[in-house]
């Protein structure tokens, strides 16, 4: 800590910061535009000007940019003096010369950093009488709306999109004041993280298109801390609600997890919450297969019959349901009768992944750790499409080399332009063994393409090289050398390749490396938001879905409870037929209508992540809690609540004590040693901040006495929330409760930049601590090898390898309208030589094992003998990764490939 003097007063500041960061950390309001805590300074906007004095005698001083000036001991500044404030006011005035008169029709209004800064500097009247420059907008796809007139040329967008996220199709274009930020031509933005432009751009140039069509101002959004359910990374989010609809997802800062950024699946993939396919009421099936909506108590009465004590019960949980729901299901039907609900392959792989993480002596990398790695090896996991936010973190990891070089020259890491200039193309090594191309290839040193079996072989060669042996290939010894030389090496793998051998080999590398370097890190991806949680709850006695089907055939199951799981995605139609034909009493709980729900005798409508609470375990082993943003409506209830009611209906004593969510969570923690900490994942329901619950609504939430007036002018009491520490109210203080952050706002700071007011220092972790608790930090010694690998069919010579897509492979997000549009059609990919051998062209299709034809795409990055199939699509459900199949060219195939995004065709709003 050093002393700096601002406006005659001494303050303590941390060395290594810049003056802007120091001022903000001290709570002083200094306007800025181009500086971003995750992207550093470039001094482009000239907004953060302060006056620096040579010494106590110097009275004139000189104007410097605070964001470009390092903190030095004894430095003297003036922030509030006339010279600096006039300069800053003039800067805003000049930025406003061409600014359109748009605030009322601008989706940034009310959370606009430009509005905030304009008010902060006191600029009010437009003196310039000339005409305003105007621009034409571009069509950037169904996710992001472009309104170029509002740009203030701060360059944040291109710095984020190109430098930070590695995108190529957005740039600063044209000369002098013609400058334009956009694509070279209209088209969908290619980068998977483009949605962050909405939050990065300090003005309304880039806004959330899904929000603009049914817009609500930030001050009217009711929100709560939540966790993304798009994948297992567990990014922290702040969904916003108005009039019972989920309006948007914003990033919730968590220094250890997602920092300032989300991926587009997470940001735009929550539309399923508003889907017309949501289940509204409980329903009982009639003899003819139709359903009648029934009252909740009638449903529970029916359930009581189905769950009576002499009925043999079984349950299928879900890797997309919360720990609490899965736990209660297990209690209801008994652990030995409860399947975790994985697919046949995952049933062996996910628990094995968990086991490797538990046994691993190395640290399980958080996203923050990933960013700090200085050598990365990716084994078989296409993270851009299975755990997208990890890919963005890996892009930062390869910059470790740049920061090393900068440190040698005593450059601060935030001196962005200097550091990038210095490093040019020098990167820390990132090597990947994948079965096809990936979006990270542009920053990778070695990209080796081979099938999963070969990946494991290569990895074992690296292990022997690490142990001092010789590797059989140059690349393997090269990789081993750089892993050994690194200070913080990281191995990234996961269940995506659907191969236990790959996982085993990854763990072997980590173990070998950890013996020489205890700072070694591991990151293993799993597919769904609570895959790891479901694995933590399962044990050797947990049956697979297929095992349950066998029991059903034997007549050992009378009633089956299926929790938030669409079984058609998990197992073959044959297995399902065995289940459905032999069990007449199926109770299905789900939020959305699925093929599985239509098989149930009793359907109970569940809440989603947006209208319930629950705990999820991310692939980092971090237990995190999400809270309801919307109060439950119709007869929808959280899964855990329905299961509690089912337990009561079945007159189960162990359910009598469990009255609240916290009690369920505590019971779950008490049952499983590994989950002991989950109650601490977030404050309990009785938590109060400054004497009150934490408000979900900002203090300027409008329309409270008119919102429901069309139904009844009598205003009901605010919905009470006895289950969480949050209130459906604007009363209370939103301050310093750490991860329990429903929204960010601070006086004068209406935009998301207000988050620095909640951080321990600008850009640092939240005051009150980061959200979630890590569960797997202690190495446990559970021994074991992968559970028996299910026999894979080998009917032909073509090896099936899964190809994931950020939009399309995930079950829930693809039920959001915009994501469905971007998902595209399922494909089979193979390289040109293989295609030629089958007589296939670009517009042909293939039939696998005589099944329906699927379009072919020639992709030369695939190794020979492999067919990549789009994972998670209905048409590819029957394909089992790792099996070898026979294929034939489809006859009479008419390609239906569509070229344009249908919904708005680019015309609207341009």
């Amino acid at each position: 800590m050093v002393i700096i003097n601002i406006d005659g007063q001494d303050y303590q500041a941390r060395e290594g910061q810049n003056i802007l960061q120091a001022c903000l950390s001290l709570g002083l309001n200094l306007p800025y535009f181009c500086w971003h805590p995750a992207m550093g300074s470039i001094g482009a906007c000239r907004q953060c000007a302060v006056v620096q004095f040579q010494n106590a005698e110097d009275e004139r001083g000189r104007i410097v940019m605070a964001c470009m000036t390092p903190v030095t001991d004894g430095a003297r500044f003036s922030l509030g003096g006339d010279k600096a404030s006039t300069f800053r006011r003039n800067i805003v005035e000049s930025l406003m010369l061409n600014h359109p008169h748009d605030c009322p029709v601008c989706a940034e209004g009310g959370e606009c950093h430009l509005q905030d800064m304009t008010v902060m500097v006191g600029h009010r009247d437009r003196r310039y009488r000339g005409r305003k420059n105007t621009h034409r907008n571009q069509y950037l796809g169904p996710l992001i709306h472009h309104e170029m007139n509002r740009c203030i040329t701060c360059y944040r967008c291109t710095r984020y999109y190109r430098d930070y996220a590695g995108g190529h199709d957005l740039a600063a274009m044209a000369a002098h004041d013609h400058i334009y930020f956009g694509r070279h031509t209209d088209g969908v933005l290619e980068n998977e993280f483009a949605g962050n432009l909405v939050e990065v751009c300090p003005t309304g140039v880039f806004t959330d298109k899904t929000l603009v069509q049914h817009y609500t101002r930030k001050w009217d959004l009711q929100s709560a801390p939540s966790v993304c359910v798009g994948c297992a990374v567990g990014c922290n989010t702040m969904p916003g609600e108005r009039y019972g609809k989920l309006k948007r997802i914003h990033n919730r800062f968590n220094a250890e997890v997602n920092g300032y950024f989300l991926c587009d699946r997470g940001r735009f993939g929550a539309g399923f919450v508003n889907s017309p396919q949501r289940l509204d009421y409980a329903a009982a099936r009639n003899a003819d297969g139709s359903y009648d909506a029934i009252q909740p108590d009638a449903a529970l009465k029916l359930a009581a019959e189905l769950l009576q004590p002499d009925n043999k019960l079984a349950g299928i949980g879900s890797p997309r349901a919360s720990l609490e729901s899965n736990f209660l299901l297990q209690q209801l039907v008994g652990a030995g009768n409860c399947s975790p609900g994985f697919s046949a392959l995952d049933h062996a792989l996910i628990p094995y992944t968990l086991q490797l993480l538990q046994q691993s002596p190395a640290r399980i990398a958080s996203l923050q750790d990933i960013e700090s790695a200085d050598a990365v090896l990716v084994l078989g996991e296409d993270v851009t499409n299975t755990a997208p936010r990890i890919a963005l973190a890996l892009r930062q990891a390869v910059r470790s080399r740049a920061f090393e070089l900068a440190a040698e020259l005593k450059l601060e890491p935030w001196q962005d332009a200097a550091v990038r200039n210095l490093a040019q193309n020098q990167r820390s090594p990132l090597d990947s063994y994948l079965s096809a191309e990936s979006k990270l290839d542009d920053i990778a040193r070695h990209c080796i393409r081979c099938n999963p079996e070969q990946i494991a072989d290569h990895a074992n060669a690296i292990v022997s090289a690490l142990n001092g042996g010789t590797a059989d290939s140059d690349s393997a010894s090269d990789i081993a050398r750089s892993l050994l030389a690194a200070r913080r090496p990281l191995i990234v793998s996961g269940s995506g390749a659907q191969s236990a051998a790959v996982l085993e080999a990854a763990a072997a590398i980590v173990n070998a490396l950890h013996r020489v370097n205890p700072a070694t890190m591991i990151s293993l991806s799993v597919p769904e938001c609570n895959s790891l949680g479901a694995a933590l709850l399962s044990s050797d006695v947990s049956p697979s879905i297929a095992a349950l089907a066998e029991r059903a055939v034997k007549g050992d199951i009378d009633t089956l409870v299926i929790l938030e799981n669409d079984l058609t995605r998990r197992c073959s139609p044959q297995t399902l037929a065995l289940l459905y034909d032999n069990i007449s009493n199926i109770i299905a709980l789900d939020a959305l209508d699925t093929a599985t729900v239509s098989e149930a005798a009793l359907v109970l409508p569940c809440a989603t992540f947006a209208d319930s609470e629950g705990t999820l375990v991310s692939s980092e082993g971090r237990a995190q809690r999400y809270f309801p943003v919307i109060s439950t409506t119709l007869d929808r209830q959280p899964g855990w609540y329905w299961l509690l009611q089912l337990g009561r209906a079945a007159r189960r004593d162990d359910f009598a004590e469990l009255l609240h969510f916290d009690a369920v969570s505590a019971a779950c923690a008490a049952h499983y040693g590994q989950l002991a900490a989950i109650s601490a994942a977030a404050p309990l329901h009785d938590f109060v901040s400054h004497g009150l619950k934490v408000p979900r609504q900002p203090h300027r939430y409008s329309g409270r006495t008119a919102m429901r007036a069309n139904v009844s002018v009598q205003e009901p009491r605010q919905t009470q929330d006895g289950e969480s520490p949050l209130a459906y109210s604007m009363e209370g203080l939103n301050r310093d409760q750490g991860g329990l952050l429903p929204f960010v706002w601070s006086p004068g700071w209406n935009s998301n930049q207000a988050v620095h007011k909640f951080q321990s220092e600008a850009g640092g972790p939240l005051r009150g601590g980061s959200a979630g608790v890590r569960l797997l930090d202690e190495t446990t010694d559970s021994s074991g090898s992968p559970a028996a690998k299910p026999g894979l069919p080998e009917t032909g010579q073509w090896l099936l390898v899964p190809r994931y897509r950020i939009f399309g492979s995930d079950e829930l997000s693809v039920r959001s309208e915009v994501i469905a549009e971007l998902a595209g059609e399922p494909l089979l990919e193979l390289n040109a030589a293989d295609a030629a051998s089958l007589g296939l062209g670009q517009d042909d299709a293939l039939c696998i094992e005589g099944a329906a034809a699927i379009a072919v795409r020639i992709n030369d990055s695939l190794p020979g003998g492999c067919i990549g199939f789009s994972a998670g699509y209905e048409a590819t459900r029957s394909l089992v990764a790792g099996s070898r199949v026979a294929v034939s060219k489809a006859v009479d195939w008419a390609s239906s490939r569509s070229q344009i995004i249908s919904s708005d065709g680019g015309s609207r709003h341009v």
Binding site: P100, H101, D102, C103, P104, V105, G109, G110, R131, K132, N133, T134, H135, R136, N137, E147, N149, R150, M173, A174, A175, H176, H178, Y180, V212, Q213, H214, Y215, T216, R217, W219, D220, R242, Y243, R700, Y701, S702, G703, R704, T705, A706, M707, A709, N710, S712, V713, Q714, R908, H909, V910
Partner: protein
């Protein structure tokens, strides 16, 4: 003593004197008082001079309202205009303060000199858009927000708003 008695008589005299002055009370409702156009009574939504809906659903009136009795939802028309999908004022809560009119950037919402809003049912005090919308411009006959704003709508391209230069050709290198 004398002064006190005199003051009593003086008061009585003056009061009696009022018996012959002109009465201020009017025979409401038969007789209606004059109310200035700026009087703050029943709220209306107006049209712009082109006859299009003026409200752009910016929500500023709603947030300015101290009793929070305005609720609306924005939508986007085919022609690019923002408009309220619904617009509701709960007049049983409204205190006729005029803050919404002050806040409105388009002159859409205006208070009128009509205060006669008695109802037997409180529910009838809830006005929807169709009850609020009038067919004219109200007090401000000239203002048209979209002529000033930079948003492109059907019939007004980029660069055609007040004080705007025509769109930049970004491929040009001319100064």
């Amino acid at each position: 003593m004398f002064e006190a008695v005199f003051s009593q008589f003086r008061s009585i005299w003056r009061i009696l004197g009022h018996s012959f002055s002109r009465a201020e009370t009017v025979q409401y409702p038969e007789q209606k008082p004059y109310l200035a156009p700026r009087y703050r009574g029943r709220i209306v939504l107006t049209l712009d001079p082109d006859g299009e809906e003026r409200c752009v659903a910016c929500n500023l009136c709603a947030v300015a309202c101290p009793v929070d009795c305005i609720a609306l939802q924005q939508g986007v028309r085919e022609d690019g205009r923002w408009y309220p999908e619904f617009f509701r004022i709960n007049f049983s809560r409204c205190i006729m303060c005029g803050m919404c009119e002050e806040a409105c950037p388009t002159y859409a919402i205006q208070l009128t000199p009509d205060f006669e809003m008695c109802e037997y049912q409180r529910q009838s005090m809830v006005y929807e858009k169709e009850h609020l919308q009038i067919a004219g411009t109200g007090k401000y006959p000239d203002y048209n927000f979209y002529r000033v704003s930079g948003l492109k709508i059907a019939g007004k391209d980029k660069g055609e708003a007040l004080n705007e230069a025509s769109p930049i050709d970004i491929r040009s290198l001319m100064p």
